[in-house]
Amino acid sequence: MGRLILRRLLAALPNLLGVVVITFVLTRALPGDPAAYFAGGAATQEAVDQVRRQLGLDRPLHEQFLHYVAGLARGDFGLSITTGQPVLQELLTRLPASIELVLIALVLACAVAIPLGVAAASRPGSWIDQLCRILTTAGVSLPTFFTGLLLAYVFYFLLGWAPSPLGRLDPYLTAPPTVTGLYTVDALFAGDAKLFVAAAKQMILPVLTLGIFVLAPLARMTRASMLAVLSADFVRTARASGLSTGTVLVRYAFRNALLPVVTTLGMVFSFLLGMSVIVEKVFAWPGVGSFALEALVASDYAPVQGFVLTMALLYTLLNLVIDLLYVVIDPRVRLAS
């Protein structure tokens, strides 16, 4: 097992290198001359040249790349011009907010989509199958930003059930002492039930928005994969042997149907990370996405690049976890390797 994990880690290295190369290329593709840009509008030619030397832009490209990689290895993502802080630090303080949103949405979507897909596949043509079909077709057509606004309008403005859809916490409440950075978890650590409820309430709408979006591909894949497995010979044998429907469905069929679903999970996570930017903007959620957008508006490029890199690293990490999940779910993968 340990050797397998090590091997997967090594296999992820070229991906990591690719991510760094693309981010580097994007850094160099800044519109116009980066040196002139960083030196400011009123800079003289001399000042621009000096900035160019300072940034190392006068050196050959491969040297610049090595310099860039060395900086990344030291945790140097550059400085944010607007806040004057190192980008890495800015990203790290905001990352928990985004992760809280994405993870809870993922768990919620799985909790709804997988049972729905299984139920739809076990009774093809029934009302639940139709419901699943409608949900999956409609779900992939929903623009996240629009669903978010619609939910805010219905549940905040019309019904008044949800709190004001701005930020992670009511402005009159103070955030719990930071342990993990996830407000709900930290509130529980602090033993503050009221704070926990307030933080959870604030999350309902953004989490719903993200969850609805990723529900569709998950339910669709679960249904298709269950349908394929349910028509397999070993399921028929299990049924013929008189095993109960529940046992056949869960122990025989579901476990075998899970592998493609886990693969879809990787794609779904890519969607989630992308859409979280939009959802953070809609709900003024102070995560890495809205940080990157603020920087973008101010033409402050280092945070944007840091953000793209962070997201890619998170995604690579998750794909690694999924690779390992395969091994847990399906012993055949372990035997094959």
């Binding site: 623009p143 930003f145 403005f157 890519s270 793209v308 890619a312």
Partner: protein
């Protein structure tokens, strides 16, 4: 949809006409069997018509401010209401159709052509070309796609062309992979050997014998991609990348209405958002239908 029905007078003569006739009759069969696809095709035609005629059928100038009082709810005079600058929302929604469709179609078209050619060459020649192309795919695929598109537009500059480029680049790997596999499995096939022995060059074999065979799965990929491409473009403009504000575009219009929705002015964001949703829905339905038409085995 009378255009889809095969002309009854068409007499099958050559092999080509024969093929076309079976395609149309198959299309007719699938469409009559599947009213939803017919509905989607009608909607699609309607969208295309609006995209072409947009500026002529819009009741007001989409950019003119104060054509009515600002932030008026829908009325007979302004069917979709007016926005904060007193612009007519219906006119803006109509005119925006063209730009959204141009972005989606050209992005998908570009990744289809470039991805198809790159993938086909990679699958045919193999070797270092294949390794480089596939490694490039892996690199793009290791980003969350929307985030990479964001990064590309941010780095290259805010313009419609760059939105198209970003959407195309992000979709490239899917087309490359499909084309490569399709070409790779047929590379050693008998009819390719025969074509080679008959004196055809590599380029001709690729273009005439291999790529046409890769078309069906490529078209399925297109059908799955169209809806996503339009969502991607609208999402980018929603967060302020790409199309710039005074222009009418669905994503921007929703963004402009976002601030008003929690104070109750729902129509500013609702109408462009719903039309965008309808467009994506149409593409997805049409995609499912197209898949049934081209690849009946994958019908669900």
């Amino acid at each position: 949809m009378s255009a889809v029905v095969a002309p009854a007078t068409a007499v099958p003569r050559g092999g080509k006409e024969e093929g076309r006739k079976t395609f149309w009759s198959h299309a007719k069969y699938v469409l009559s069997d599947n009213p939803i696809t017919l509905f989607a095709a009608t909607l699609f035609m309607l969208f295309v018509l609006v995209a072409i005629l947009g500026p002529w059928i819009a009741p007001y100038n989409p950019l003119a401010t104060n054509v009515g009082p600002s932030l008026q709810p829908p009325s007979l005079k302004h069917w979709f209401g007016t926005d904060s600058l007193g612009r007519d929302i219906l006119s803006r929604v109509i005119v925006a159709t063209r730009i959204d469709f141009v972005i989606a179609l050209s992005a998908v078209g570009a990744s289809f052509v470039v991805g198809g050619l790159l993938g086909a060459c990679a699958g045919y020649f193999g070797g270092w070309l294949e390794r480089i192309v596939m490694r490039g795919c892996d690199m793009v695929m290791s980003f969350p796609l929307f985030v990479l598109a964001m990064g590309i537009v941010a780095a290259m500059g805010n313009s419609v062309a760059n939105i198209i480029l970003a959407t195309a680049v992000v979709n490239l790997p899917f087309y490359i992979r499909v084309a490569r596999t399709e070409v790779n499995v047929r590379r050693e096939a008998g009819f390719i050997e025969a074509a080679r022995l008959a004196g055809n060059g590599d380029a001709r074999i690729l273009l005439v014998h291999l790529i046409p065979n890769a078309m069906p799965p490529m078209m399925v990929q297109v059908s799955l991609n169209m809806g996503w491409a339009i969502l991607n473009a609208a999402g980018l403009s929603f967060i302020g990348l790409g199309v710039s504000p005074p222009a009418a575009e669905w994503g921007i219009m929703v963004a402009e209405g976002a601030g008003y929705i929690i104070s109750g002015e729902w129509w500013v964001a609702l109408f462009p958002g719903s039309v965008l949703m309808l467009a994506v829905f149409t593409f997805n339905l049409l995609g499912d239908g197209l898949r049934d038409l081209i690849d009946p085995r994958r019908r669900t």
